[in-house]
Amino acid sequence: MIELTAYNFSFIMMTLITILPALGIAFVNSLMRSLLLLILSFIGVAGLFVLLSADFIAIAQLLIYAGSISILLLFAVMLTPEISINNENSKYFLLASLGAILFLYLMILLITIFDLNQLTGNALNKLDFDNTIEQIGTLLLGKYIIAFELASVLLLFALIGAISIVRSSESDFDVKIKDSK
């Protein structure tokens, strides 16, 4: 059985903060409420990253997912038609729950097959935050420079694509706030 050290206790707490809201997202009817739960779940994930002594990634998780992606989703929800904001009794309920069970089975399978400690190395029990940013920086601009640059090029294309999509249908999004001088 798991030994109840401070570390394990925090881990269990963070897992609960991640998983319970995640379940809530699936079962709550109101889209807005599930969005709130999603943000909570993101915060839990950030906590898990801290326990993995990945402080930079934890902060990035907070910044990007909890702070920014949630805004994106908020706008997506705002743009959905009013009928589907309270999505009660979806007709795909059975199918979706079947898929969820399959996914759960797959995850359990994966966890039992692989030795997790082997994957994560020794960092698990050693909360050591020294030089994480420097290491990430060195790796990003050293070993993984090509992937990093490719990602930035991809983002650039995404940006241009988004702009071109918006411009082509300019008449639909005609915002008439008067341009200042």
């Binding site: 050290t5 807005m32 409420r33 702070g67 805004i71 908020l74 001088k181």
Partner: protein, 446 residues
Amino acid sequence: MSFFNQVFKGPQLAYYFKKISIAVFIFIVIVAGYFFSQLFFDLSKFSQFIFDFVLQRSNYNFAYFTSSIIGALGIISFVGLVLLVGSWVERRVIAKFQIRVGPNRVGPFGLLQPIADAIKLMQKEVLVPAIADKTLFLIPPVAIFLPAILAWGPIPWAPNMSYLNINVGILYVFAVSSLTVPIIFFAGWSSMNHYALLGSMRTVAMMVSYEIPISLSLLSVAIITGTLNFSEIVLWQSTNSIWLGLFMPFSLFTFFFASTAEINRTPNDIAEAESEIVAGYHIEYSGMKAGLFMAVELGNAVLLGALVTSLFLNGWFLFGIEKFVPPYIIFIGKTVAIYLLLIWLRATFPRFRLDQLMNFAWKTLIPVSIINFFVIAIEVTILNQFQSTGILIYIFALFNIFLFLGLIVVWSKIFSVDKFQPEKIQPKFAGEIGGLEAMKGVKSVD
């Protein structure tokens, strides 16, 4: 006074007695303050004491846990104190600006007014609009306290006096404060009120826009100091004996201005523009729920002061005075100075329009920030070639100040601000009375 008059048989003596007693009192305060400051010069020894005290009776984990809880309680109670005193300060100072008296009835100088307000607000009924989503409506006033308090963690009050002395300090504050956006949005959305929705939309638009200049200015701080840790940034400024605010005035300006937009302070308080959308996202909140929103805004203003102090104003250092006065006093003093500046702005300026602020963010702040960032990056590269920064850093500082002024001139030319020069838009005097015909006869004011 009548007591003095009876004792000394004359108004003159009583007057001098009063003067002398005030002088004696000030002297006592100074002496007591000196001993006090010597005793409490380094607060870290108290936390060390607590840690050791618990460690002797228990294990390391428990001692660590206990001292961190006590530290957290210290931060929370400090924030609470800031909210109470801050609201009093704000109301009194703004009253002085507006030739009023301000709160002066409850307690000495009205000092207990915030407490009285809080008690009154708490007595009020919890009103929820009939069509509002009740759960979502009641969560935001409480949840918005979370980022407001968490962000105080890595603030370096003094050497060895930072609750969260983490390597990613700047990023942490940035990330935590970005959590307010969805919370404000939920507050506005769940109120089911058009004004509230407009307010939260404006908030989101502003925050999304102004996070970019903020991050650019913080990035320039990070590249020159080579760290994201607040204490190290303060120490860097001290070892190179220059305030970062002087070295890169534009970053300071960007950070300050964009932050006022993020925390809804005048002149950028469009999210709760009183004359337009009444109270913005918290229009439907009443009683203590509205009070909590107000308190968080006030706390954020003070937090902005602390951030500017530690990032740009050399934290707890002040020309060697930090050797005699406890450093955290200096830090708090600088913070209060920035807070007073915010109050001054609030008392003086009208409000920008939403589109003006957006234009300013996207057409001015972001491009100029990028230019500024590249200039600073080049300067940092040059500085890194030398062992000690020496005189070069002052030259660069001077250059940056002129760059700042030059950019202002260039951007004002680009947007042709000078067509609104006050002398060009003054009214004229009518030559003769009449209608459209007589309009030709107007003469200038002289």
